[in-house]
Amino acid sequence: MSGEVRLSRRRFLKYAAGTAGALVIGIGTADAVDRPPPLGLLGDAWAQVGPYLRIDADGRIFIGVRDPDNGEGTSTSLARIIAEELDADWTRVVVEPLGLGVTAGNGEPKFTYGRQRSGDATSIPAAWADLRQAGALGRWLLLQAAARRLGVPAEQLRGESGMAVAADGRRISYADLASAAASIDAPSAPPPLKSPDRYHLIGQPAGDVDARAVVTGALRYAFDETIGDPVIAVLARCPYPGGSLDTAERDAAMKVDGVYAVIDLTPEQGQPAGMAAQAPALVVLARDTWSALAGRSALDARWKAGNTVEPAASVLEQKALELFDDDAATPTTVRADGDITSARKKAARALEATYFQPWVAHATAETPNCVVRLDPDTSVTVIAATQSPRQVYTVVQRMTGFRPDQIDIQVPRGGGGFGRRLEQDYIAEAMAIALAKKPDEIRNRPVKVLWTRDDDLARDYYRPLAVHRLNASLDRKKAIVGWHQRMASPSALAGRGTPDNRLWQSELVADALPAGLVPNFRSDWYALDSTLARGEWRGSPHVTPTFASESFIDELAHAVKANPLDFRLALLGDPRQLPYGARGGPLDTGRLANVLRLAADKLDWSRWLRSENGLGIACAYVFGAYVAHAIEVSPTADGIDIHRVVCVADVGRVINPMGLEAQLQGATMDALSTALNLAITVKDGRVQQTGFRDYPIAATQPMPYEIETVIVPSTADPSGASVIAVPSAAPALANAVFRATAVRVRRLPLLRELARLR
């Protein structure tokens, strides 16, 4: 009643009969098969083979989604990839988020569902590679079962909306075939995939599978979890990185009705950044959130800065400028082609510009939180929104010493990720509190850690502040013949065990354009020191460098009196493939030129020269996707109006155009809002921002009424969607602002700088 089909040396599909006549299909790894779970002991096949797909005898089709969904829409798009190959009836599909798949291996944990990470737009490309196969195997088994039942060759049957259909029109529902399909012998090779011309789900718009649960309030985010009546934990964290406690009114906190205890959280030594709690901190444990918050107020914790006091941004920026001018400085050279020095000597023109971008925060809608239910002798359940369930496991395993089968990590839909949920600090906090000695009355209750908004802004893993200096050499034909970019930033990889010569990898992309288009090219990265925690932010290695490079290309175009669109198209040259070391390559210059042209056309770029409004354009290649923004602005007395924003994307084959459009619009909104308004600032060694008044996320002014999107039809393999529309939005805006105001903004946030310069 079970079988296996090998997909590759390490990956295979397995299937089995479930309870009540179900067919269950999963994907496994070769490592995991070393010790298959004992058949019969686990009861249902759902647990045996990895719950990717379960066809129930009542007609419902359960699809498990392995990658966390923090608003990227993967619970819908991954499920549709499977359902398409299965020829399922989408109206009968029930989508379930999968927790972490981990089993005991030979001394090492085996992650049975693969990578399970959401970040860098990876979920869709990975799903395209293997989840289609799970659906195809299901269809093949069901059609084999139907062939036996109908007495016709399986080749004469096809799947159609949850039915096996014969050439003569006879049909049997998948529900009726599920049980028999589980006992079909495995095919010798993976069954063939569908021809794309038969797709009826992929490429068609689909609403979010969780929509009904969201709009009725029934969807439980981790923030809403009440399993086992958890004790609520609110923390007073030291606002100075490396600082320590000065005073705290513990007795006053204990007097607050509902407060059970105040306990100390001390730093864990020797852990990589992002894998331990941000300590020291004082933990207030209480009956409910309000009591915990009142207890924290009464606690009135005061803190002292450590030996190193975090400087203001201006100090780091000054350091960056000194490094750029210091011949003895030793940057990491990320890429070097030709000879930039001789190119500069021979150049008809040479230009230089320096760009400054601030610290920014993630400010996820759902603040960090985590629920831990621990039985110290037997098991632990952790419920949290995360972008990296495997990292959660690493932290939980380290802190408990448990075996994989004792650790249950559940990953509900999250209220935004943006890179914040790649960090494990809030998991480690909850684990530490669960393990800590506590009063008897709460000793065995689950613990739920909640962050308030000021907590979130004060102790984020910020997108690093960055300074970029760009130098270009142009020849008499207005072509860029030399390009030297110097970037200085505090690396988000510092303190995470990454060797010094790779710390640049979180900051920039070696082969990002115009690399490969300019014969003499050099990219240098300089390390800055900071005590603030840093992390990934919406594809950040693409974000700050693209603001600098796409602004600078615009400056060059204006310097030689060229139309910035024509200048970019000339730079891209003939359609060809450029080698690209980072994920997504090779880079097709023709596809990038195409999105540029489409964006320009949509905004009626022919107005560029004479329009009173300013038109700006920029493009980027991000994780395999080609994106361009074209933006129209006009000046106002105290700032700008943004009239139109066009976003064009070529992501290869589109799984769900409705979801893709939401991702493009949302990322564009966020990128513009961030560029216009947002900066995390440091004063007296601590972050100043405390809420949405001084950190105004997602501002609707001066945004246009609608972000216009164009999605390029393509049959290329799909890329991801979730962050791709961030990098090119801000430079397109700054380029439009320059046309509208004659002010070149080289420092973000833009509105503050524009006001200063005008």
């Binding site: 979010d208 969201v214 939401a662």
Partner: protein, 183 residues
Amino acid sequence: MAQQGPTSPVPVPAKQDASQPAPKPVREGIDLIVNGERYRHTGDKTMPLLWYLRDVLRLTGAKYGCDQGDCGFCTVIVDGKAVASCKTKMEKMSGRRVTTVEGLAGDDGKLHPVQQAWIDEDAITCGFCQPGQIMAAVELLSRQKNPSDADIDKIGNLCRCGSYGRIRKAIKRAAAAMKDGKA
């Protein structure tokens, strides 16, 4: 309904005086109606409505976002008006009638036209702000049958995912549906 959380503090007599009868414990409480059901709050009067709904009644549809009444994630309707429940203290709630997102759909599970419009326009992205957005829209449509773009923008609830375009469309779709429903 099982209630957990704050309990009434028991009044302690200041001084025992044999000449007066011992004071009887007075069970004070704040009576309010939430989604048509009566409740009595006997805990801290300064507790914000948001945490009463979430921690005491276990109605977790209203979300936490900022403590400052700025984001609108916690929006509920009190006596017909949209309020930030994080800034509304329980001491102001006596005799009030509260509707949360859990109370919008009919008993038969039929969605409110605003909820249905949110699904039809696929207005959710991460979804976390959307219960608050929906409550704000319900209140707007209760006083403006044909809201203008400016009326809609005045709501001012934040969406970190930037789904404003679809939210606007959903509100207009709901307005049309509610008009048809009455016609």
